[in-house]
Symmetry: C2
Subunit: 206 residues, 2 copies
Amino acid sequence: MVGGHSGQDGSVRDVLATNLRRARAERGLSLSELARRSTIGKATLSQLEAGTGNPTIETVFSLSRALELPISDLLDHRRPAGLTVVRAAEVEPLSGAAVDLRLLRRLEVDSAVVEVYDQRVRPEGRQTSLGHVGVEHTIVQAGRLGVEVGGERVELDAGDYIAFDAVAPHSYTALDGPVRSVLLLQYRGGQQPDLVAPHPTPDEQS
Amino acid sequence: MVGGHSGQDGSVRDVLATNLRRARAERGLSLSELARRSTIGKATLSQLEAGTGNPTIETVFSLSRALELPISDLLDHRRPAGLTVVRAAEVEPLSGAAVDLRLLRRLEVDSAVVEVYDQRVRPEGRQTSLGHVGVEHTIVQAGRLGVEVGGERVELDAGDYIAFDAVAPHSYTALDGPVRSVLLLQYRGGQQPDLVAPHPTPDEQS
DNA sequence: CGCTGGTGTTCGGGAAGTCGAACGATCTGG
DNA sequence: CCAGATCGTTCGACTTCCCGAACACCAGCG
């Protein structure tokens, strides 16, 4: 989770406390010094690091600015990186009219999510989507791929790349022979790509 | 900025106000309903949406939870996306001992950066890196790829995926015939991946 | 017409965040 | 051994955030 939404447990205070202490330590700053730079009272800082305290967002932003650190780094606890291997053979494919998708990895960076798919387009038909949340990135590696997005038509050769806002209706077609490509689906955490996506979105905005 | 660090102007309040209104509208929730779900007073919500207010992080988290939206989406203002096409033929390749890399796209989400490369590994030799900042993701699409990371050896077939912290020394080898793959290089903004990286970087890093 | 159930707004006060100042604890140099 | 300068913590005050209640407004309905 985390990167997913945000903090989940009730211990928002503790997460901040920990991250704050660490960030300050990494920078070799004293509490007093940080207080000076962030124009935040020493008292306030002390309490925050003690886990006592429920700071205002403005306070958090001041810290973020002074520490040159994104808010997410203060409010989320992040995980380390290791070594990960995913075998295509061990992943259940999601098959559509003309494509097979295998989810290889789901990355969560800050509040964004990037899903990495192995995508194979069969020459038979056409894969259509009415539109969904997020941005699609496709890197073609073999074959010729036809992409249609909101009226526009584009043909891609091996090595070519396309990206588009997926809310617009779009479709994929293998032009001559099967196509191999990598699909990156990028969206904001909390949203649901929901590849079928019936979202109306009333009107919005003041 | 923004994506950069966080909010910059003093109008943190206004950003939140706008994002909140929009998020609530998208979900078709009434203020009262949201108040109920988030266990936040209607009064508080009303003030927040009016731009009057400097909420506590706990309040923000409650909203984040109720709206199923990451905090960054509430606190940052983000821009839309369009349609982008990059032709491999028009990109100057970065050639190494055994690989050709073409930078297709550079994504910046929040404070993170993801670079998308078209990667071709030639069967001749071996591409070695002593290590650099970031995480490497490789999706093999054709051929067999040998990867060596900090001692471990892995062989990948078409469709397979590997990811590892790139600070460790690593190398790529095409096992039989040329390999086509997609390389994602992920690192935190402000850092420099420096792919050649003769950097010894004594210890550091957890 | 008034009643009911919904909306989003404004108001009072109890609770809590923020700040400056004072505090004890270290560490330094004279 | 004691001034001086830091460190991080604690205390009282001022401010303000948060909530429940009361408010005005609108739509549907008997």
